[in-house]
């Protein structure tokens, strides 16, 4: 570890990448934590404020990007875990949101 209280990476599977709707969800969720939260669209950065939708959108991360998160602060671990989980759930935009549960969760080809 390198001076951060929590770090993690996750593959962005959303069909059109980190575009408008996913960015709104991500930054809204990030703002619910007190920790300083940053994300990068590559292992070398640049690191950007995960609470700023202007900066998150400007990263223009396409599908397949490995998103890295890092955080410092009291709730850093919970914050990183929550953001990773949101990306893993494909921003809650799968079949389950529009139809009754029971259908398999599919990855868009």
């Amino acid at each position: 570890m390198s001076g951060f209280d929590a770090e993690a990476s996750v593959v962005l599977t959303h069909a059109v990448g980190l575009h408008a709707r996913p960015s709104v969800k991500l930054t809204k969720l990030a703002k619910t934590f007190a920790a300083k939260l940053e994300l990068a669209a590559g292992p070398a950065g640049p690191w950007i404020d995960a609470k700023s939708i202007v900066k998150v959108m400007a990263a223009k991360a396409p599908q397949g990007t490995v998103l890295s998160f890092r955080a410092t602060g009291a709730d850093a671990a919970a914050a990183v875990a929550a953001l990773v989980a949101l990306v893993e759930r494909d921003f809650d935009e799968g079949e389950g949101t529009a139809e009754a549960a029971g259908t398999a969760h599919a990855a868009n080809p």
């Binding site: 990448g17 700023s52 079949e95």
Partner: protein, 533 residues
């Protein structure tokens, strides 16, 4: 010489209106005088807050459509990173309007340079944001739109249209603009009279105006005599509306008892909220461009699926024909259509574009096959020119349904039909027998047959759907369809014009799809015509 009071342009949405003139602020040329750093800082802060408030109001009024796009705009405005460069510029002596415009323009340029279609399309969101804030900063911009006003300006954005309360009437008069624009479709579906292409509108001041959306005419500061004529025309229109209302929910039948199917064309799912499905025999054309020209860029599969499903649920068990995206020609879509074609109407448009961009087309086919389990959905291909295009899409459709099944989705393969709008198809429809149905697109069929565009005023008179050649092609399509057992309908503007129905009935046509406000007019006209003989 007295100032010009009468302007003629093109009809964009029917109806007659008389009301106070309201000038639209042109944010592109708006300016503001610097009044000191503190004043400019406060003004920008207030303009951003006011823009957020506008958006909150819009979100409340448009829950179904575009609420998440508006939410995105709010999130951007609330983010201090957006306006930081503007506040820095104010410190350096810029006025708030120039500072914000330049800050946003540089971010817009950044999105426009993106290699990714979805992100490139975001530029239009930032333009909308910019204009919304600028409209609060421009000198003399504050005036609210009075009830029933005639909005006069160069052009109008869809979001500005949606922000106006049209319940007290009103109309739109634009110096530029197009009847096929998104905002013109909105105006037609909301019943707001609109004229476009009026040319330079004199500065005025004018107190009031009459707008005739049928003829595309604007009369500024009308005289007593003009007002009297307007009153009489409006009374006529009201009388006709009452007779149309009588036949609206009844099946269409000619005077000699021949049934004609009358379906509706849908450009926006929101149009359906105000419509009773009982007025029609189904939806003969859903234009899916609304999904692609929205501020959210190219739509993902889920967004499309939800939109299609909502339309099918409205229609209950009635057939719904959804046309795959018909971009290109006069309907450019950022991130999808090609720029700089020398003649876009003869270029990569309709199914040609879909086949050139299979990754985008496949998402639409997936969404359509998933939605198809919720009703009587049919897929229609625009601009088909050779039978191979149908075969290629049919194979893609087959593969899509199999893939959806293995992805765990419920899906169904809908019937695949075509638009008959390229003369090549109308001349030899029998070569296209693989199509499940034919729908005659009379607008393009007329344009390609007469080699004249509707939107070029100098040749508009040649663009006549009643031309014997166009009618002959329609008759041929209907006759070959009947021989092959292929259903034939018509979904262009010709079907909404009672003057063309005697010829259409003689050509054997028994089904058409028209703009929703024209259903009553068509049914009433059919009741007075004889199909046989």
């Amino acid at each position: 010489m007295p100032p010009i009071r009468e302007l003629s342009g093109r009809a964009a949405a029917p109806g007659l209106a008389h009301g106070p003139v309201h000038r639209l602020v042109e944010t592109g040329t708006a300016h503001r005088a610097f009044a000191g750093v503190a004043v400019e800082r406060a003004a920008l802060g207030q303009a951003i807050a006011a823009a957020i408030e506008d958006l909150a109001g819009l979100m409340a009024a448009n829950e179904e459509d575009g609420a998440d796009i508006l939410e995105f705009q709010v999130a951007m405005l609330e983010d201090e990173s957006l306006s930081e460069p503007a506040f820095d510029a104010i410190e350096a002596g810029a006025d708030a309007l120039t500072a914000f415009r330049e800050a946003l323009d540089s971010q817009i340029a950044d999105y426009q340079r993106s290699e990714d279609d979805y992100f490139r399309a975001r530029a239009s969101d930032l333009e909308d944001l910019r204009d919304r804030v600028l409209s609060h900063l421009a000198d003399g911009a504050a005036a609210a739109v009075p009830a029933g006003a005639i909005l006069v300006g160069r052009d109008l954005t869809p979001s500005r249209f949606l922000s106006v309360d049209w319940s007290a009437g009103g109309a739109i008069a634009l110096a530029e603009g197009s009847p096929s624009s998104h905002v013109a479709m909105l105006a037609r579906s909301r019943g707001v009279p609109m004229a476009v292409g009026l040319g330079a509108i004199p500065d005025g001041p004018f107190r009031a105006a009459i707008l005739d959306g049928e003829r595309g005419r604007l009369v500024l500061d009308p005289t007593e005599a003009e007002l009297a004529a307007f009153g009489a025309a409006r009374a006529d229109a009201a009388g006709r509306a009452a007779r149309e209302a009588d036949v609206l929910t009844r099946p269409a039948v000619t005077a000699d008892g021949v049934a004609v199917k009358v379906m509706i064309n849908v450009a926006e799912p929101a149009e359906l909220d105000r419509l009773d499905p009982e007025i029609c025999d189904g939806i003969g054309l859903v234009r899916t461009e609304f999904l692609f020209t929205g501020r959210d860029g190219l739509p993902d599969e889920e967004t499309q699926y939800r939109a299609y499903r909502r339309i099918l649920e409205w229609a209950e068990d009635r057939p719904v024909t959804i046309r795959t995206v018909d971009a290109g020609g006069d309907k450019p879509v950022p991130g999808l259509t090609l720029d700089g074609e020398s003649n876009p109407f003869l270029g990569v448009r309709g199914v040609r574009l879909s086949l050139a961009r299979p990754e985008i087309f496949r998402l639409q086919l997936r969404a359509l096959c998933r939605a198809a389990v919720h009703g009587d959905l049919k897929i229609m291909l625009p601009m088909v020119t050779v039978p191979e295009e149908i075969a290629t899409v049919a194979a893609m459709l087959e593969a899509t349904v199999i893939q959806l099944g293995s992805d765990g989705f419920r899906a169904r393969k809908p019937p695949l039909g075509i638009m008959v709008e390229v003369p090549a198809v109308a001349v030899v429809p029998e070569l296209y027998a693989e199509a499940a149905f034919f729908s005659i697109g009379s607008n393009d069929l007329t344009q390609y047959t007469t080699a004249s565009a509707r939107d070029i005023a100098a040749v508009a008179a040649l663009n006549d759907p009643g031309h014997a050649a166009v009618v002959a092609l329609i008759r041929n399509t209907v006759a070959r369809g009947a021989e092959l057992g292929i259903e034939v309908s018509l979904c262009g503007d010709m079907g909404g014009d009672p003057a063309h129905w005697p010829a259409l009935l003689r050509a054997g046509l028994r089904s058409a799809s028209v703009a929703p406000p024209l259903v009553g007019r068509v049914k009433l006209a059919l009741a007075g015509l004889r199909a046989g003989g």
